[in-house]
């Protein structure tokens, strides 16, 4: 236990190994200030999802283990907790791929999010109404079986369900996955609103660098389980290297981000290199 600071989440040199042999994270250090949105960027297999799972303790369910480093959430060391313990502490993880309960209705999905809370019928209705003000589309679809709703509606259901746990911290794993651009924008608008109005801190894993950085306060770029670069979202957004790498525009064709970094390591004094 350390005293609560203004950082709601702090990872210090975290390493993760799956099945005792597969090394997924080597050295991840990051900080989420209270009430901010932090983006975690990187390609497939960079370690974004693993990082989130190590924080929400969903790793144990996939035979993964934090082998080194410390994770501190809101003054509590994250070690042997169960995911339900973390939900009790006010942290909730929206898993990659939405993962709605397909055979339940949209509203049953959302109500399931309040499983850990003791709510009377009236309180539950009030909570639902509060949630529906953010997710207006879901109010119309609340009687539909979740498995038959559109991808965007499923993503909203997943986030709405998570918000019913009344979290202080939301871990969002690739909310943009497989969604049309307008829907992606809608989801991010909702995330912004939740952040502003509910004061929930957000750690966001994304491949869609552009929209993630537009909506975040700070960004971390990770590759093969290491933080390669981090800085305020605005600075990262205007960074040529990032534009080049993530938009795939390069004179020499696609290349490893680490090479890009090495080449231009000296410049960019405002960015910190990991």
């Amino acid at each position: 236990m350390t005293a609560p600071t203004d950082d709601i989440l702090k990872l210090d040199q975290v390493a993760v190994v799956y099945n005792n042999v597969i090394s997924a994270l080597h050295d991840i250090s990051l900080t989420v200030p209270r009430g901010k949105i932090v983006a975690l960027l990187g390609g497939n297999g960079a370690g974004k999802s693993t990082t989130l799972k190590s924080i929400s303790t969903m790793l144990a369910g996939e035979r993964g283990r934090v082998t080194r480093g410390t994770i501190t959430y809101d003054g509590t060391a994250v070690k042997d907790q169960q995911p339900s313990d973390m939900v009790g502490l006010g942290m909730v993880h929206v898993l990659e791929g939405r993962r709605c309960f397909g055979h339940l209705t949209v509203e049953e999905n959302i109500i399931a999010g309040a499983y850990s809370r003791k709510l009377s019928k009236g309180e539950m209705q009030a909570e639902l109404d509060r949630i529906y003000t953010y997710f207006k589309r879901l109010r119309e679809r609340r009687k539909s079986q979740a498995g038959y709703t559109s991808g965007g509606e499923q993503q909203m259901t997943a986030v709405a369900r998570a918000m019913m746990t009344k979290p202080k911290m939301l871990l969002l794993d690739e909310p943009s996955m497989g969604l049309a651009p307008q829907l992606v924008a809608e989801i991010f608008n909702i995330a912004q609103e939740l952040n502003k109005k509910e004061g929930v801190s957000i750690l966001l894993a994304e491949q869609n660098t552009n929209i993630a950085l537009r909506n975040a306060d700070y960004g971390y770029i990770i590759e093969t389980g290491r933080v390669m670069l981090h800085g305020p979202a605005r600075d990262l957004l205007n960074d040529d290297k990032i534009k080049e790498f993530y938009l795939g525009i390069s004179k020499e064709g696609r290349k490893n981000f680490r090479d890009v970094l090495r080449k231009e390591a000296e410049s960019h004094s405002e960015l910190y290199h990991g």
Partner: protein, 300 residues
């Protein structure tokens, strides 16, 4: 006229026997919903539960107390199963869990016989396996009182469980876990408690089913195999569906009685034992997910 009445009698006997199949199948469905495992130990649980119940009665414990005691025992069995079998195997494949339940079946059978002995016991529920006089006199139908009681008890239990799943918080939690255990865990539904609940409920259902079967056929080892009759019930009804277990049980009950009476003689009789399995094979060809099985929802 006699012919028609006789047919009704056969169908009715089938329906009533079917509720008992439904009851056993319900135990399977409960566990299948929560852990996607076919619990091979369900038959052993039926045997273990009713043998313990009769054992307690033999010790001079009155009926009601013995019933409560056995329910508590089955909850303890559920608790031990979660702790000693399921927890160490968390995240293993469904096949591994299936094998584990086969092991559990042997443990339960052995344990029950080691403690209570192997001889066949009689269980008297106060209702005999005789035609109800009133129905026989007024309608001309011969319906066993025991069958009727078993049918009513099974139907009541099924309705209570179905309502519980639909309308209680625990039921919602169970359905959520059945759909996606990982996502359920991520929003704080404690999987351990759900497992405990499910195994306890399955244990309770096993006890009731065992008492009904035991009253008819005697409390004996053969109950383990009788429970396997639930397999065709599940194939027809669908593994994950409570209505499926009910309807499947009724279909199996009626079909096996009707076939036994009308088709059986040309096979030399005794087709009751295997006819349901043949029916199940046809169902597998025609509708593998069962009548009520939850279709895998795939959006394209």
């Amino acid at each position: 006229m006699i012919e028609v009445l006789f047919f009704f009698e056969v169908v009715l006997a089938g329906l009533l026997a079917g509720t008992m199949y439904s009851l056993v199948a319900l135990g399977f469905v409960l566990i299948y919903k929560a852990s996607s495992t076919f619990n091979f130990a369900q038959g052993a649980m039926v045997f273990f539960a009713v043998l313990s119940f009769v054992g307690f009665m033999e010790q001079g414990i009155p009926f009601a107390a013995a019933f409560v005691l056995t329910v508590l025992l089955m909850i303890a069995v559920g608790f031990a199963t979660e702790r000693l079998v399921l927890k160490p195997l968390v995240n293993q494949s469904e096949d591994t869990l299936l094998m584990a339940t086969i092991g559990l079946a042997f443990v339960l059978q052995g344990l029950a016989q080691a403690v209570w002995g192997v001889e066949v016991r009689r269980l008297d529920l106060g209702v005999g396996d005789f035609p109800i006089p009133w129905i026989a006199d007024n309608l001309g139908l011969f319906v066993s009182a025991l069958d009727v009681m078993a049918g009513v008890v099974a139907a009541t239990l099924i309705v209570i469980l179905a309502l519980m799943f639909k309308y209680t918080k625990m039921g919602l939690g169970l359905r959520a876990v059945a759909d996606d255990p990982g996502a359920a865990a991520s929003i704080g539904i404690p999987l351990k408690n759900i497992m405990l609940l499910v195994w306890s409920a399955a244990g309770f259902v096993a006890l009731v089913a065992g008492m009904m079967w035991g009253a008819r056929a005697g409390v004996q080892f053969a109950l383990v195999d009788l429970a396997l009759k639930a397999l065709p019930v599940l194939i027809i009804g669908g593994f994950s569906s409570i209505p499926g277990a009910i309807v499947g049980g009724l279909i199996i009950g009626v079909v096996e009685k009707v076939l036994e009476v009308y088709v059986g003689p040309s096979f030399g009789g005794g087709i009751e034992g295997w006819a349901p399995f043949v029916l199940a094979i046809f169902f597998l060809l025609w509708r593998p997910e069962g009548l009520f099985g939850e279709k895998i929802i795939r959006r394209v």
